[in-house]
Symmetry: C2
Subunit: 212 residues, 2 copies
């Protein structure tokens, strides 16, 4: 059989789908390689270990999304008035949806991977993200904090993680929820519609005054 120089890509493509659907530890290397139609050992040859494959899958998205999100938020800074919280969150929508042009279902897969990473791995993925993309996260947190100056930093920390949970869980079950919504209320939303629904919800929660 002819050699394929795209073995790495085939592995990454198969792995990200399975990881997003089933989680990291529930996805075996044998399932990945059979779906990718490559040899089992090629994972360890190209990536070294399963853990490093997981990081590579995430990095392929983060390397695109994080800079795009950063510049989108910095663009808001050039406006004469302070951007509202909803404007800041909305600025992330385009970078998020652009992932769909990177790969099919890219937006959904990315958000699901993010959620899995936060819950499954015992901190090593969180460490990976904060050390590799810390400055991008900083600009986001600073922008959000500036738009809601009445929220103390510690409170904002919690609310931003509430927000992460909202978006991640919603995306993980978006397909199932869409089916129910279509059957029960006769409305069908695509990913973008769901994202635009969730933004007001998150913006209201993040900026609600702290109880004394």
């Amino acid at each position: 059989m002819a050699s394929r120089s795209d073995t790495k890509t085939r592995i990454l493509d198969a792995a990200e789908k399975l990881f997003a659907e089933r989680g990291f530890s529930e996805t075996s290397l044998r399932l990945i390689t059979s779906k990718a139609e490559v040899n089992l050992a090629s994972v360890n040859y190209h990536f070294g270990s399963k853990k490093e494959l997981i990081r590579a899958v995430l990095a392929r998205y983060l390397d695109v999304f994080m800079p795009a999100a950063s510049t989108a938020i910095k663009r808001l800074h050039t406006a004469p008035t302070q951007a509202s919280l909803e404007e800041i969150l909305s600025a992330l929508v385009d970078p998020l949806l652009d992932l769909n042009e990177l790969r099919t279902e890219g937006t959904t897969i990315f958000l699901q991977l993010l959620g899995r990473g936060y819950i499954e791995s015992q901190g090593h993925l969180r460490w990976f993200i904060t050390t590799h993309y810390g400055q991008h996260l900083d600009t986001f947190v600073k922008a959000v904090s500036a738009s809601a100056p009445h929220i103390p930093p510690a409170e904002m920390f919690w609310r931003l993680h509430f927000t992460l949970g909202t978006i991640v869980f919603t995306m993980a079950s978006a397909d199932a929820l869409n089916d129910i919504a279509a059957a029960e209320f006769g409305e069908h939303n695509d990913i973008e519609a769901v994202i635009r629904k969730v933004i007001p919800y998150m913006a209201a929660g993040v900026s609600v005054p702290v109880a004394s």
Copy 2:
């Protein structure tokens, strides 16, 4: 050694702690039985399989929490004025905290189990809960809808699932988030503090006016 009729309880007690901390699939039966100081085979003798053990662990909490939550919400109905959304959500706090008297760290363990169950199992636990505790869920949804009559049913459907995502994700990673919060802001929150933090967030999101 003398026979112990509390072998089932010893298994359940050890299992729920480990399941909450590490997740279901990351917790082996050997780890559970060694921590419970019982024989490995006794799990399959008393519960049949690991999957049934997981359900038994969850049912032990749900059987207590669900009726208590239902009656707490129905009690609000007796008041002369319509309960606010925050009042409805707050009514769940006491049934939740009462689980701490059932077992040590009961509240934390229950919520983490719920989160793990929703994320790890692909819908199996969702089915288990809705079929076994559906009427309790109904009273909750009806009470919330009545408290926010300006939200159309279809929009409320989405927002309640946003809310589910918020609480589930937060509880699944509560320990990790608490560690970060302690390191970064020097504040350490118990589970009640986190619950009281998340309620205003969710209440604001659910009741925010729908964009025209």
